[in-house]
Protein backbone atom coordinates (compact mmCIF):
# COMPACT_ATOMS: atom_id res chain seq x y z
CA UNK A 1 0.00 0.00 0.00
CA UNK A 2 1.50 3.31 -1.04
CA UNK A 3 1.51 6.11 1.41
CA UNK A 4 0.13 9.25 -0.29
CA UNK A 5 2.53 11.59 1.55
CA UNK A 6 5.53 9.36 1.28
CA UNK A 7 7.25 11.05 -1.64
CA UNK A 8 6.10 14.63 -1.30
CA UNK A 9 9.43 15.76 0.12
CA UNK A 10 7.97 17.04 3.40
CA UNK A 11 9.00 15.83 6.83
CA UNK A 12 5.95 13.93 7.94
CA UNK A 13 5.23 10.73 9.76
CA UNK A 14 4.67 7.76 7.58
CA UNK A 15 0.95 7.29 7.93
CA UNK A 16 1.12 3.55 8.44
CA UNK A 17 4.63 3.03 9.79
CA UNK A 18 5.19 4.24 13.32
CA UNK A 19 8.77 5.41 12.80
CA UNK A 20 9.55 8.79 11.14
CA UNK A 21 10.26 8.67 7.43
CA UNK A 22 12.88 11.45 7.50
CA UNK A 23 15.55 12.64 9.95
CA UNK A 24 13.68 15.93 10.39
CA UNK A 25 10.75 14.08 11.88
CA UNK A 26 12.90 13.07 14.81
CA UNK A 27 13.44 16.73 15.60
CA UNK A 28 9.74 17.41 15.16
CA UNK A 29 9.00 14.58 17.53
CA UNK A 30 11.36 16.03 20.12
CA UNK A 31 9.79 19.46 19.68
CA UNK A 32 6.37 17.97 20.31
CA UNK A 33 7.61 16.25 23.46
CA UNK A 34 9.26 19.47 24.59
CA UNK A 35 6.07 21.45 23.90
CA UNK A 36 4.06 18.91 25.88
CA UNK A 37 6.58 19.24 28.70
CA UNK A 38 6.17 23.02 28.65
CA UNK A 39 2.38 22.69 28.66
CA UNK A 40 2.49 20.35 31.66
CA UNK A 41 4.92 22.68 33.43
CA UNK A 42 2.66 25.68 32.72
CA UNK A 43 -0.40 23.80 33.94
CA UNK A 44 1.42 22.81 37.14
CA UNK A 45 2.55 26.39 37.67
CA UNK A 46 -1.01 27.62 37.14
CA UNK A 47 -2.29 25.02 39.58
CA UNK A 48 0.30 25.93 42.20
CA UNK A 49 -0.39 29.65 41.75
CA UNK A 50 -4.01 29.08 42.71
CA UNK A 51 -3.53 26.39 45.34
CA UNK A 52 -0.64 27.64 47.48
CA UNK A 53 -0.23 30.71 49.69
CA UNK A 54 0.45 33.68 47.37
CA UNK A 55 4.15 34.47 47.14
CA UNK A 56 5.24 31.41 49.11
CA UNK A 57 8.30 29.66 47.75
CA UNK A 58 7.20 26.05 47.38
CA UNK A 59 10.55 24.71 46.17
CA UNK A 60 11.69 23.83 49.70
CA UNK A 61 8.51 21.91 50.40
CA UNK A 62 8.67 20.17 47.05
CA UNK A 63 12.32 19.21 47.59
CA UNK A 64 11.51 17.96 51.10
CA UNK A 65 8.73 15.79 49.75
CA UNK A 66 10.87 14.33 46.95
CA UNK A 67 13.86 13.63 49.21
CA UNK A 68 11.65 12.32 52.02
CA UNK A 69 9.83 10.00 49.64
CA UNK A 70 13.10 8.72 48.15
CA UNK A 71 14.43 7.99 51.64
CA UNK A 72 11.15 6.28 52.52
CA UNK A 73 11.53 4.09 49.42
CA UNK A 74 15.09 3.24 50.38
CA UNK A 75 13.96 2.32 53.88
CA UNK A 76 11.14 0.22 52.42
CA UNK A 77 13.70 -1.71 50.35
CA UNK A 78 14.98 -3.12 53.63
CA UNK A 79 11.94 -5.41 53.48
CA UNK A 80 13.45 -7.22 50.50
CA UNK A 81 16.60 -7.95 52.52
CA UNK A 82 14.57 -9.24 55.48
CA UNK A 83 12.39 -11.31 53.19
CA UNK A 84 15.42 -12.80 51.42
CA UNK A 85 17.01 -13.70 54.79
CA UNK A 86 13.77 -15.24 56.09
CA UNK A 87 13.28 -17.21 52.91
CA UNK A 88 16.87 -18.36 52.96
CA UNK A 89 16.34 -19.75 56.46
CA UNK A 90 13.68 -22.10 55.06
CA UNK A 91 16.37 -24.00 53.24
CA UNK A 92 19.05 -26.37 54.34
CA UNK A 93 22.45 -26.62 52.73
CA UNK A 94 23.52 -30.19 53.49
CA UNK A 95 26.40 -31.01 51.19
CA UNK A 96 27.76 -29.67 47.99
CA UNK A 97 26.01 -26.33 48.30
CA UNK A 98 22.69 -27.33 46.71
CA UNK A 99 19.92 -25.93 48.89
CA UNK A 100 17.00 -28.12 49.94
CA UNK A 101 13.70 -26.81 51.23
CA UNK A 102 12.98 -27.84 54.77
CA UNK A 103 9.28 -28.81 54.66
CA UNK A 104 8.95 -28.39 58.43
CA UNK A 105 10.28 -24.83 58.34
CA UNK A 106 7.73 -22.05 58.69
CA UNK A 107 8.12 -18.54 57.34
CA UNK A 108 7.91 -15.89 60.09
CA UNK A 109 4.65 -13.91 60.21
CA UNK A 110 4.26 -11.24 57.57
CA UNK A 111 4.26 -8.39 60.08
CA UNK A 112 7.57 -9.64 61.45
CA UNK A 113 9.18 -9.70 58.01
CA UNK A 114 7.49 -6.46 56.98
CA UNK A 115 8.73 -4.76 60.15
CA UNK A 116 7.19 -1.36 59.47
CA UNK A 117 8.77 -1.05 56.03
CA UNK A 118 6.25 1.66 55.21
CA UNK A 119 7.15 3.81 58.22
CA UNK A 120 9.07 6.32 56.08
CA UNK A 121 5.95 7.21 54.11
CA UNK A 122 4.02 7.84 57.31
CA UNK A 123 6.79 10.09 58.57
CA UNK A 124 6.66 12.07 55.32
CA UNK A 125 2.85 12.30 55.65
CA UNK A 126 3.22 13.49 59.24
CA UNK A 127 5.67 16.19 58.18
CA UNK A 128 3.24 17.30 55.48
CA UNK A 129 0.62 17.91 58.18
CA UNK A 130 3.17 20.24 59.76
CA UNK A 131 3.20 22.19 56.49
CA UNK A 132 -0.51 22.83 56.89
CA UNK A 133 0.22 24.80 60.06
CA UNK A 134 3.15 26.51 58.34
CA UNK A 135 0.88 27.59 55.48
CA UNK A 136 -1.65 29.13 57.86
CA UNK A 137 1.10 30.91 59.79
CA UNK A 138 2.45 32.31 56.52
CA UNK A 139 -0.51 34.71 56.44
CA UNK A 140 0.67 36.25 59.72
CA UNK A 141 4.33 36.60 58.76
CA UNK A 142 5.83 40.02 57.85
CA UNK A 143 2.36 41.41 57.11
CA UNK A 144 -1.18 40.51 58.10
CA UNK A 145 -2.25 39.16 54.74
CA UNK A 146 -4.79 37.11 56.69
CA UNK A 147 -6.86 40.33 56.71
CA UNK A 148 -7.00 40.19 52.93
CA UNK A 149 -7.76 36.48 52.78
CA UNK A 150 -10.64 36.89 55.21
CA UNK A 151 -12.16 39.63 53.07
CA UNK A 152 -12.48 37.47 49.98
CA UNK A 153 -15.82 36.43 48.59
CA UNK A 154 -14.50 32.90 48.09
CA UNK A 155 -14.77 31.80 51.71
CA UNK A 156 -12.71 28.62 51.16
CA UNK A 157 -9.86 30.39 49.37
CA UNK A 158 -7.67 30.55 52.49
CA UNK A 159 -8.20 26.88 53.34
CA UNK A 160 -7.77 25.79 49.72
CA UNK A 161 -4.42 27.55 49.55
CA UNK A 162 -3.26 26.20 52.91
CA UNK A 163 -4.47 22.64 52.56
CA UNK A 164 -4.21 21.55 48.92
CA UNK A 165 -0.44 21.01 48.55
CA UNK A 166 0.06 19.31 51.95
CA UNK A 167 -3.01 17.12 51.40
CA UNK A 168 -1.69 16.07 47.98
CA UNK A 169 1.61 15.24 49.71
CA UNK A 170 -0.19 13.28 52.43
CA UNK A 171 -2.33 11.50 49.85
CA UNK A 172 0.69 10.51 47.76
CA UNK A 173 2.61 9.35 50.83
CA UNK A 174 -0.29 7.20 51.97
CA UNK A 175 -0.72 5.85 48.45
CA UNK A 176 2.99 4.95 48.34
CA UNK A 177 2.62 3.30 51.74
CA UNK A 178 -0.34 1.28 50.47
CA UNK A 179 1.60 0.28 47.34
CA UNK A 180 4.56 -0.68 49.46
CA UNK A 181 2.30 -2.85 51.62
CA UNK A 182 0.59 -4.51 48.65
CA UNK A 183 3.88 -5.27 46.89
CA UNK A 184 5.43 -6.54 50.10
CA UNK A 185 2.47 -8.80 50.81
CA UNK A 186 2.33 -10.11 47.24
CA UNK A 187 6.03 -10.94 47.41
CA UNK A 188 5.54 -12.63 50.79
CA UNK A 189 2.49 -14.55 49.61
CA UNK A 190 3.74 -15.72 46.24
CA UNK A 191 7.51 -15.88 46.59
CA UNK A 192 7.39 -17.95 49.78
CA UNK A 193 7.11 -21.70 49.16
CA UNK A 194 3.46 -22.53 49.86
CA UNK A 195 4.26 -25.29 52.36
CA UNK A 196 6.23 -22.86 54.49
CA UNK A 197 3.55 -20.21 54.77
CA UNK A 198 2.20 -19.92 58.32
CA UNK A 199 -1.43 -20.90 58.90
CA UNK A 200 -2.40 -17.41 59.91
CA UNK A 201 -1.43 -14.34 57.90
CA UNK A 202 0.03 -12.77 61.04
CA UNK A 203 -1.23 -9.31 60.38
CA UNK A 204 -2.35 -7.10 63.21
CA UNK A 205 -2.73 -3.40 62.61
CA UNK A 206 -0.58 -2.66 65.62
CA UNK A 207 2.14 -4.98 64.40
CA UNK A 208 2.07 -3.51 60.91
CA UNK A 209 2.16 0.06 62.16
CA UNK A 210 4.62 -0.22 65.00
CA UNK A 211 6.50 -3.40 64.12
CA UNK A 212 7.06 -6.53 66.17
CA UNK A 213 10.81 -6.55 66.32
CA UNK A 214 11.84 -7.88 62.95
CA UNK A 215 12.84 -11.38 61.83
Amino acid sequence: MECPDHHDGHDRYDWYHTKPTHDGNGKQHMQKIRALGHRIQAAMKRFLTHHTPPGMNMRGEFAFFIIGTLLAFLYALGYLVRFADAKDALYRYPYGGRKILDPSAVMPDFERVFDCAWAGFFIVALCMTGYILYHYLYFYQNTKSIYLMRRLEQRWELHRRCLTAPLIGIGLSLAFAALCFVFAYLIYRYATPAVCLPEHAGMSLRGLLFGVGGV
Binding site: P54, G55, T143, K144, S145, I146, Y147, L152, E153, Q154
Partner: protein, 246 residues
Protein backbone atom coordinates in the same frame (compact mmCIF):
# COMPACT_ATOMS: atom_id res chain seq x y z
CA UNK B 1 -25.30 52.50 54.76
CA UNK B 2 -23.01 50.89 57.33
CA UNK B 3 -24.78 50.51 60.62
CA UNK B 4 -23.33 49.50 63.99
CA UNK B 5 -25.98 48.77 66.57
CA UNK B 6 -25.02 48.48 70.26
CA UNK B 7 -21.73 46.79 69.51
CA UNK B 8 -19.77 45.55 72.52
CA UNK B 9 -16.47 43.72 72.29
CA UNK B 10 -14.57 42.31 75.23
CA UNK B 11 -11.11 40.74 75.36
CA UNK B 12 -11.41 38.59 78.46
CA UNK B 13 -12.40 41.00 81.18
CA UNK B 14 -11.24 44.07 79.27
CA UNK B 15 -13.90 45.96 77.35
CA UNK B 16 -12.58 47.19 73.98
CA UNK B 17 -15.90 48.51 72.67
CA UNK B 18 -18.83 49.37 74.86
CA UNK B 19 -22.31 49.72 73.37
CA UNK B 20 -21.11 51.50 70.24
CA UNK B 21 -23.80 52.64 67.83
CA UNK B 22 -22.78 54.40 64.66
CA UNK B 23 -24.17 54.94 61.18
CA UNK B 24 -22.08 55.78 58.14
CA UNK B 25 -24.04 57.10 55.17
CA UNK B 26 -22.87 56.57 51.61
CA UNK B 27 -20.48 59.23 50.40
CA UNK B 28 -19.33 60.31 53.86
CA UNK B 29 -15.69 60.82 54.78
CA UNK B 30 -15.47 60.20 58.50
CA UNK B 31 -12.47 60.69 60.75
CA UNK B 32 -12.21 58.27 63.67
CA UNK B 33 -10.15 59.68 66.53
CA UNK B 34 -9.08 58.35 69.87
CA UNK B 35 -6.09 57.68 72.05
CA UNK B 36 -4.08 54.48 71.70
CA UNK B 37 -6.24 51.63 72.93
CA UNK B 38 -9.47 53.61 72.49
CA UNK B 39 -10.89 50.82 70.29
CA UNK B 40 -10.45 52.25 66.78
CA UNK B 41 -8.83 49.14 65.31
CA UNK B 42 -11.22 46.83 67.16
CA UNK B 43 -14.15 48.81 65.77
CA UNK B 44 -12.91 48.45 62.19
CA UNK B 45 -12.02 44.81 62.58
CA UNK B 46 -15.41 44.09 64.11
CA UNK B 47 -17.02 45.62 61.03
CA UNK B 48 -14.93 43.26 58.91
CA UNK B 49 -16.00 40.29 61.00
CA UNK B 50 -12.52 39.55 62.35
CA UNK B 51 -13.86 39.52 65.91
CA UNK B 52 -16.88 38.08 67.63
CA UNK B 53 -18.90 40.78 69.32
CA UNK B 54 -22.25 41.51 70.89
CA UNK B 55 -24.76 43.66 69.02
CA UNK B 56 -25.05 43.76 65.26
CA UNK B 57 -23.42 45.37 62.27
CA UNK B 58 -25.18 45.64 58.92
CA UNK B 59 -24.12 46.78 55.48
CA UNK B 60 -26.94 48.21 53.40
CA UNK B 61 -29.39 46.45 55.70
CA UNK B 62 -27.75 43.02 55.55
CA UNK B 63 -25.42 41.23 57.92
CA UNK B 64 -21.84 41.23 56.76
CA UNK B 65 -20.92 37.83 55.36
CA UNK B 66 -18.58 36.55 52.65
CA UNK B 67 -21.28 37.51 50.14
CA UNK B 68 -21.06 41.26 50.75
CA UNK B 69 -17.67 41.59 52.47
CA UNK B 70 -16.02 42.61 49.20
CA UNK B 71 -17.97 45.87 49.41
CA UNK B 72 -15.68 46.85 52.26
CA UNK B 73 -11.97 47.44 51.76
CA UNK B 74 -9.39 47.83 54.49
CA UNK B 75 -6.03 49.55 54.66
CA UNK B 76 -4.05 49.01 57.81
CA UNK B 77 -0.67 50.15 59.06
CA UNK B 78 0.02 46.45 59.78
CA UNK B 79 -0.34 45.91 55.98
CA UNK B 80 -2.58 43.26 54.51
CA UNK B 81 -0.72 42.54 51.28
CA UNK B 82 1.60 39.60 50.56
CA UNK B 83 5.17 40.72 51.26
CA UNK B 84 6.69 38.28 48.76
CA UNK B 85 4.46 39.26 45.86
CA UNK B 86 5.04 42.17 43.53
CA UNK B 87 2.63 45.05 42.94
CA UNK B 88 1.85 43.63 39.50
CA UNK B 89 1.04 40.22 41.01
CA UNK B 90 -1.27 41.93 43.53
CA UNK B 91 -3.04 43.62 40.65
CA UNK B 92 -3.71 40.20 39.12
CA UNK B 93 -4.77 38.76 42.47
CA UNK B 94 -7.23 41.58 43.13
CA UNK B 95 -8.49 41.44 39.56
CA UNK B 96 -9.33 37.76 39.91
CA UNK B 97 -10.86 38.01 43.40
CA UNK B 98 -12.72 41.31 43.38
CA UNK B 99 -15.21 41.67 40.55
CA UNK B 100 -15.37 45.43 41.02
CA UNK B 101 -11.59 45.94 41.02
CA UNK B 102 -10.74 49.29 39.45
CA UNK B 103 -7.60 48.66 37.39
CA UNK B 104 -7.51 52.19 35.97
CA UNK B 105 -7.51 53.67 39.46
CA UNK B 106 -4.82 51.22 40.57
CA UNK B 107 -2.57 52.25 37.64
CA UNK B 108 -3.23 55.94 38.19
CA UNK B 109 -2.41 55.75 41.91
CA UNK B 110 0.70 53.68 41.22
CA UNK B 111 1.81 56.42 38.87
CA UNK B 112 0.90 59.14 41.37
CA UNK B 113 2.99 57.53 44.11
CA UNK B 114 5.85 56.88 41.64
CA UNK B 115 5.61 53.14 42.22
CA UNK B 116 5.10 52.09 38.62
CA UNK B 117 8.80 51.49 38.00
CA UNK B 118 8.94 49.14 41.01
CA UNK B 119 5.80 47.21 40.13
CA UNK B 120 7.66 43.95 39.53
CA UNK B 121 9.67 44.07 42.74
CA UNK B 122 8.49 42.11 45.78
CA UNK B 123 6.82 44.37 48.31
CA UNK B 124 9.22 43.46 51.13
CA UNK B 125 11.83 45.50 49.25
CA UNK B 126 9.66 48.66 49.45
CA UNK B 127 10.30 51.35 52.07
CA UNK B 128 7.76 51.69 54.90
CA UNK B 129 6.30 54.75 53.21
CA UNK B 130 5.92 52.92 49.91
CA UNK B 131 4.31 49.97 51.66
CA UNK B 132 1.78 52.31 53.26
CA UNK B 133 1.09 53.89 49.90
CA UNK B 134 0.59 50.54 48.26
CA UNK B 135 -1.73 49.40 51.05
CA UNK B 136 -3.87 52.47 50.43
CA UNK B 137 -3.77 51.93 46.66
CA UNK B 138 -5.15 48.43 47.10
CA UNK B 139 -7.93 49.62 49.44
CA UNK B 140 -8.96 52.35 47.02
CA UNK B 141 -8.79 50.12 43.93
CA UNK B 142 -10.72 47.18 45.29
CA UNK B 143 -13.94 48.74 44.08
CA UNK B 144 -15.58 48.71 47.51
CA UNK B 145 -18.14 51.33 48.49
CA UNK B 146 -16.92 51.37 52.08
CA UNK B 147 -13.23 52.02 52.63
CA UNK B 148 -11.80 51.56 56.11
CA UNK B 149 -8.35 53.02 56.74
CA UNK B 150 -6.61 52.35 60.02
CA UNK B 151 -3.76 54.81 60.46
CA UNK B 152 -2.64 54.20 56.90
CA UNK B 153 0.07 56.86 56.82
CA UNK B 154 2.11 56.02 59.90
CA UNK B 155 5.64 56.55 58.59
CA UNK B 156 4.88 58.73 55.57
CA UNK B 157 6.21 62.26 55.23
CA UNK B 158 3.86 65.22 55.40
CA UNK B 159 4.20 66.19 51.70
CA UNK B 160 3.20 62.73 50.68
CA UNK B 161 0.22 62.74 53.00
CA UNK B 162 -1.06 66.15 51.95
CA UNK B 163 -0.82 65.28 48.27
CA UNK B 164 -2.61 62.07 48.95
CA UNK B 165 -5.55 63.75 50.69
CA UNK B 166 -5.96 66.01 47.67
CA UNK B 167 -5.87 63.09 45.26
CA UNK B 168 -8.26 61.12 47.42
CA UNK B 169 -10.80 63.95 47.41
CA UNK B 170 -10.43 64.11 43.64
CA UNK B 171 -10.89 60.42 42.88
CA UNK B 172 -13.61 59.39 45.33
CA UNK B 173 -16.97 58.73 43.75
CA UNK B 174 -20.08 60.13 45.48
CA UNK B 175 -21.14 56.66 46.63
CA UNK B 176 -17.80 55.83 48.26
CA UNK B 177 -17.59 56.08 52.03
CA UNK B 178 -14.32 56.45 53.93
CA UNK B 179 -13.75 55.76 57.62
CA UNK B 180 -10.27 57.02 58.43
CA UNK B 181 -8.62 56.39 61.77
CA UNK B 182 -5.67 58.66 62.47
CA UNK B 183 -3.88 60.73 65.09
CA UNK B 184 -3.12 63.44 62.55
CA UNK B 185 -6.10 65.59 63.48
CA UNK B 186 -5.03 68.90 61.95
CA UNK B 187 -4.03 67.29 58.68
CA UNK B 188 -7.36 65.65 58.01
CA UNK B 189 -9.60 68.36 59.43
CA UNK B 190 -10.14 69.93 55.99
CA UNK B 191 -10.54 66.59 54.33
CA UNK B 192 -13.18 64.87 56.50
CA UNK B 193 -16.86 65.74 56.71
CA UNK B 194 -17.49 64.23 60.09
CA UNK B 195 -15.50 63.39 63.19
CA UNK B 196 -16.22 60.49 65.54
CA UNK B 197 -14.38 60.36 68.87
CA UNK B 198 -13.74 57.13 70.71
CA UNK B 199 -12.57 57.03 74.29
CA UNK B 200 -12.10 53.81 76.23
CA UNK B 201 -14.35 51.93 73.83
CA UNK B 202 -17.17 54.44 73.88
CA UNK B 203 -18.22 57.12 71.43
CA UNK B 204 -17.85 60.42 73.25
CA UNK B 205 -18.28 62.73 70.28
CA UNK B 206 -19.81 62.69 66.80
CA UNK B 207 -19.96 65.94 64.88
CA UNK B 208 -20.03 67.25 61.30
CA UNK B 209 -17.14 69.54 60.43
CA UNK B 210 -19.52 72.11 58.93
CA UNK B 211 -21.26 72.34 62.31
CA UNK B 212 -17.85 72.90 63.88
CA UNK B 213 -17.07 75.65 61.39
CA UNK B 214 -20.39 77.35 62.14
CA UNK B 215 -19.63 77.29 65.84
CA UNK B 216 -16.17 78.72 65.16
CA UNK B 217 -14.42 75.84 66.87
CA UNK B 218 -11.47 73.92 65.43
CA UNK B 219 -11.47 70.16 65.31
CA UNK B 220 -8.52 70.00 67.71
CA UNK B 221 -10.33 72.25 70.20
CA UNK B 222 -13.47 70.13 69.92
CA UNK B 223 -11.52 66.94 70.55
CA UNK B 224 -9.73 68.45 73.53
CA UNK B 225 -13.06 69.61 74.91
CA UNK B 226 -14.65 66.19 74.52
CA UNK B 227 -11.66 64.53 76.14
CA UNK B 228 -11.75 67.06 78.95
CA UNK B 229 -8.15 67.76 78.17
CA UNK B 230 -6.36 69.48 81.02
CA UNK B 231 -4.23 72.18 79.44
CA UNK B 232 -2.24 72.78 82.60
CA UNK B 233 -1.27 69.14 83.15
CA UNK B 234 2.20 69.63 81.62
CA UNK B 235 3.08 72.57 83.90
CA UNK B 236 1.67 70.67 86.89
CA UNK B 237 3.78 67.63 86.07
CA UNK B 238 6.91 69.74 85.59
CA UNK B 239 6.28 71.57 88.86
CA UNK B 240 5.95 68.28 90.68
CA UNK B 241 9.16 66.99 89.11
CA UNK B 242 11.31 70.11 89.49
CA UNK B 243 9.79 71.61 92.62
CA UNK B 244 9.59 74.97 90.87
CA UNK B 245 6.39 76.91 90.51
CA UNK B 246 5.86 77.16 86.72
Amino acid sequence: MLNLNHVTKKYGTQTALSDVSLTLERGEIVGLFGENGAGKTTLMQSILGFHRFEGDITLDGEKITHKNITNISYATSAHSFFANLSAAAHRDFYQSHFKTFNGARFDALMEFFSLTAARHKPLFSFSTGQKNQFEVILALSQGADYILMDEPFAGNDIFNREDFYKVLLGILEPHETVLLSTHLIEEVSDFIGRAVLLHKGQIIGDIRTEDLEESGMTLTAYIKQQYRYQGDRVSKALSALTGEDL
